[in-house]
Symmetry: C2
Subunit: 200 residues, 2 copies
DNA sequence: ACTCCTAGCTAACAGTGATAGCCGATGTCG
DNA sequence: CGACATCGGCTATCACTGTTAGCTAGGAGT
């Protein structure tokens, strides 16, 4: 499927008029990381619209107008792109809970809404250990803070709540709930559990 | 890596003395499903000892003494083997909570212990929707019952507890908890939440 | 004894990530 | 201005994946 994507049939010929302003004056890292950003964006688009097995080196290349192997001129390997996409997702996810009331109900609702809007991306986040060396350390903290507040400063309870939200979302995305499940009611039940635990 | 596994170098030659008693008198389905059971066992062993990317059609064939493509004489495709392994895991997991006290603490501990003993298998369970047509319907019920009891009959709360346990395990297996996390304490906090919610 | 089917085999295909090596264009420097 | 190095494409290729096609040895049944 998908012929070479019409991006200059063979030979490189007229590359000059399809390059989106290579900006020859920019420092090397900038030029290169512009391409990288383009790749990450394409990877994310592919992931979100067609699922994880659609994001392939060759399709990624086609999406940015090159030939697959050429990707390796910009990126060490595929996992680097995946990691970048994951970090992007993690960043957005952490921003989604900023400004919402520090309540289990509200935080879980915010997470859930985002996850249902970006299911493939969300599942990508849960696949890898999230290599803490690459992610800005304040990111996960910022995502965790509202739950810590919601649990009255109990970090263990906050982590349990985090696990619960993650578990709820994962089960819903993987369609593991029994067909008759009222997922909203399950969220409410979880909220009850964690709200009363805080009072305790 | 891994030369053809020394299972009769080339040509099929002396198959007769390596076949584990083909039992020529058995009905066809029995013979075939014996091989299938052997395959599932090999797949599980490969999965548990070397992880999911090690379970490969060719390696699976080598493990049972045949050549890869020959697997398709016994099984429609790879996913069927995966599904069978998953059902096996699900069955064991459901048996693990039989007989433990119907408490969040005990149930979650039982799940966690099993999951840590079979991490790759556990993660396999969470990957697919668990195709309910293939799994005996009483299985998931039986696994769910203790939690329903533990939550005083509140099915929604039971499902929330299930999501919590799943989430806790998944986070631990994926090493997503911050390095300083006291996982036991997180379990205790979750138990507190769900125990007090039941009283509520 | 003849036939048929089971269950193995090899060869091959399309697709995966990744590497090697070629080369045109570009920017830099003597 | 010309030599030259680097950058960023390309093709060919590799090892590997799941899967299909087609061959055939040998046991089972008539």
């Amino acid at each position: 499927m998908t012929p070479p994507s019409e991006a200059t049939p063979a030979g490189r010929a007229d590359r000059s008029d399809m390059r989106p302003a290579p900006a020859t004056g920019m420092p090397v890292v900038e030029r290169s990381s512009a391409r990288k950003a383009q790749l990450v964006a394409a990877a994310r688009h592919l992931l979100e619209t067609e699922g994880v097995e659609a994001v392939t080196i060759r399709r990624l290349g086609a999406a940015v107008g090159m030939r697959g192997p050429s990707l390796y001129k910009h990126v060490p390997d595929k996992s680097a792109i995946e990691a970048a996409v994951a970090i992007e997702g993690l960043t957005e996810l952490s921003e989604v809970v900023r400004g919402v009331p520090a309540t289990f109900t509200d935080v879980s609702h915010a997470y859930r809404t985002w996850a249902l809007a970006h299911p493939h991306l969300y599942r990508l986040l849960n696949k890898h250990p999230v290599d803490r060396s690459r992610v800005p350390p304040e990111l996960e903290d910022r995502a965790a803070d509202p739950l810590i507040v919601a649990t009255g400063g109990d970090r263990d309870l906050a982590r349990a709540a985090w696990a619960t939200i993650n578990g709820l979302i994962e089960l819903e995305l993987a369609r593991r709930f029994p067909p008759d499940t009222d997922v909203d009611a399950v969220y409410s039940a979880a909220a009850r559990a964690f709200d009363t635990a805080r009072a305790d």
